[in-house]
């Protein structure tokens, strides 16, 4: 229980102390030596009254200010421009301004950073009568704010550098143009998810194994960012290195699997690898897929079907169960390799899907670039230009 009498007497004591302090504080000292500069001006800014604190802050004598200067004239020229274009209109329209950062030019020419509050008093008819302005020395605060600004600028600069780095790194993982292959028409396309400020996990590669012997790889590393980029680079280079000694795509992918299993990363990936060999005028494709959407072959007659032996994704199981599938290609046949960003392009709850892809291909199979560009455009339009996942695709046509 609280003793109400005790509380009452305590409150009384506090109030007594308050009134004593109030009576003891001389009103003129309260004004003159207030802990902020204080000025009163006519509505157009002519100084009519100013306290000692303001004079001490600025070095002016009262006689040099009262009736002689306007408040805005004490500011830097840039500050005067800000005053005319922002401060004065806000004061007129809203009756007050708060915490405006300005610089007063002291009588010795030094600049004093200040924070300014002002109120506009109006008479009963609504006519402006007087402006009361409080001026706070903000030297330390302004220095702190400048440091914040510098830090913000540095942060923005490093963000820009990081974006440039992402772009450069992405280009090392995604060749801007696939190489020219004698006797084959090859095109590729890539579109990162979102605004492309993060390194995605999709990649493709087209490289030569021997004369008339080429490899086309397309893959998708789970996740995004630096760690995904490390695995992407590892997978891509392992394929190239393994292709020196092994010629079967399933064997090459098995080596990638081993490398990923030994790597400390928990990440896994899917890859479809295709070897293209020329014998005489004909081409044979050998295809193995490790958990990756199977490549499509589109014949000249418009038939579209999946090709490739299908195994488990890489970096998870010791045995990925990979197999190869050989397909003989004729003139006019096309091959299409892609990542799941094509199938999973979304419009509401609807996906672009395999059916749409298979239906679209025959009409585009006039050239590799028509297929690559056409399918990329189609999926982008389908999801109204907002990519939720990376899209990578490679098209090959036997001309």
């Amino acid at each position: 229980m609280t003793d109400s009498r005790y509380n009452t007497s305590k409150t009384d004591v506090a109030l007594d102390g308050f009134y004593t302090a109030l009576l003891d504080d001389d009103p003129s000292a309260l004004y003159e030596r207030a802990p902020c500069g204080y000025l009163s001006t006519t509505p157009d800014g002519s100084i009519v009254k100013v306290n000692q604190t303001f004079c001490a802050l600025t070095g002016y004598a009262k006689g040099e200010l009262v009736g002689k200067r306007r408040f805005a004239e004490l500011l830097t020229v840039g500050g005067q421009m800000y005053h005319e274009t922002h401060f004065a209109p806000m004061l007129q329209m809203e009756g007050q301004v708060r915490a405006i950062a300005l610089e007063v030019v002291r009588v010795d020419g030094e600049r004093l950073p200040v924070l300014v509050n002002a109120v506009l008093e109006r008479d009963d008819a609504g006519n402006p009568v007087i402006v009361r302005t409080a001026v706070f020395d903000a030297t330390d605060r302004r220095e702190y704010e400048r440091e914040l600004l510098r830090a913000k600028q540095r942060a923005e600069e490093s963000e820009a550098r990081a974006r440039a780095l992402v772009h450069t790194l992405q280009q090392t993982l995604i060749p801007p143009e696939p190489p020219d292959i004698p006797g084959l028409d090859v095109a590729a396309a890539f579109r990162p998810a979102g605004v492309g400020d993060e390194i995605g996990g999709d990649f493709y590669d087209v490289f030569q194994i021997g004369t008339g012997d080429w490899a086309v790889a397309i893959g998708d590393v789970c996740g995004k960012g630096v760690e995904a980029a490390v695995i992407t680079a590892l997978a891509r280079h392992t394929i190239r290195a393994a292709a020196v000694h092994s010629s079967r795509p399933s064997e090459i992918l098995a080596i990638v699997n081993e490398v990923l299993l030994r790597h400390e990363s928990e990440r896994f990936c899917t890859i479809a690898l295709m070897r293209l060999r020329q014998t005489g005028g004909d081409w044979t494709a050998t295809v193995s897929s490790a958990g990756h959407p199977l490549p499509l072959v589109c014949t000249e007659t418009g038939e579209v079907r999946e090709i490739g032996g299908f195994g488990a994704l890489l970096g998870v199981l010791p045995q990925a169960g990979l197999t190869d599938d050989d397909v003989s290609l004729r003139r006019g046949d096309s091959l299409f390799l892609f990542t799941d960003g094509v199938l999973e392009a979304r419009a509401g709850s609807d996906f672009f899907g395999e059916e749409r892809l298979k239906a679209a291909l025959p009409g585009l199979a006039t050239s590799a670039s028509a297929m690559a560009d056409g399918i990329l455009d189609g999926t982008l339009r389908f999801q109204s230009g907002v990519t939720s996942d990376d899209i990578a695709l490679v098209a090959v046509r036997i001309p």
């Binding site: 830097t76 020229v77 800000y82 600004l149």
Partner: protein, 247 residues
């Protein structure tokens, strides 16, 4: 009558002036791109890097609303914006009113604009230090934030506030522009309203504008400051009224 506000604030600048013309004229008020209620998402920094883009916007507004015999009232930088619009399509405009105009703010040989380049840099600093609170306080307002109704209140105090990057850019476009040579191309009858003491557009600049315009009427207002439309609304209204009603 089309009213255009100057650098810094928005169409509220005309609150004490425009209503006086409502009975006799169709009144069009708008916010320059980047200010007030304009759609910040359609602000294109490439396009808005000269006053011509703002003048094109004025013409688009006039065409969209099918206005004819336009009396364009422009404050501060909007005087030159209206002048450029009138020079491009003279047939659209009946009269122009320039309140505190300046065709060039920076001194140049014999020409006195009132400022040096250093002063403009200082203004940009002022803008920057007064927009420190923008990103955190204003961004949620712009994005719409129903869970924080108190932001609605801040929005009403957003007069004279916009995205700092836009303010910074518009300040550069405004104060580094040089439209002295365009004045002779503005054939529309023009009233030049000059405050007797104006730190942004001094009397000598107002006189220069009136001299260079082929058809001008010059009125020196007994007003102090760059915004006579706020500080001396009655004098501003009566000067504009005499000019626009004089046929």
């Amino acid at each position: 009558m089309v009213f255009a506000h100057g650098f810094g604030c928005d169409q509220n600048m005309w609150r004490l002036v425009a209503p006086h013309f409502e009975d006799d004229f169709k009144i069009v008020l708008f916010d320059l791109m980047g200010y007030g209620g304009s759609d910040l998402s359609s602000y294109d920094p490439e396009r808005y890097d000269s006053l011509q883009a703002y003048a094109d916007d004025v013409l688009r507004i006039c065409h969209e609303l099918r206005l004819t015999d336009v009396i364009f009232v422009g404050h501060s930088v909007s005087a030159m914006i209206g002048g450029l619009a009138a020079a491009a399509e003279p047939s659209l405009f009946a009269k122009l009113v320039f309140v505190g105009p300046s065709p060039r703010y920076i001194d140049d040989d014999d020409y006195v604009g009132g400022f040096g380049e250093e002063d403009i840099r200082e203004l940009l600093d002022s803008l920057e230090s007064n927009y420190l609170g923008w990103s955190s306080a204003m961004a949620p307002v712009v994005m719409g934030n129903p869970e924080r109704p108190e932001l609605g209140e801040e929005l009403t105090e957003s007069f004279c506030r916009t995205d700092p990057a836009i303010a910074h850019r518009f300040a550069r476009v405004t104060f580094l522009s040089d439209n002295r040579a365009d004045l002779a191309q503005i054939k529309t009858p023009t009233l030049v309203l000059q405050a007797k003491k104006d730190a942004i557009a001094p009397v000598a600049v107002g006189e220069f504008v009136a001299e260079q315009l082929p058809q001008s009427t010059y009125v020196l207002l007994d007003a102090i400051g760059h915004c006579p439309n706020l500080s001396a609304p009655e004098a501003t209204v009566s000067a504009i009224s005499a000019f626009v009603r004089d046929r």
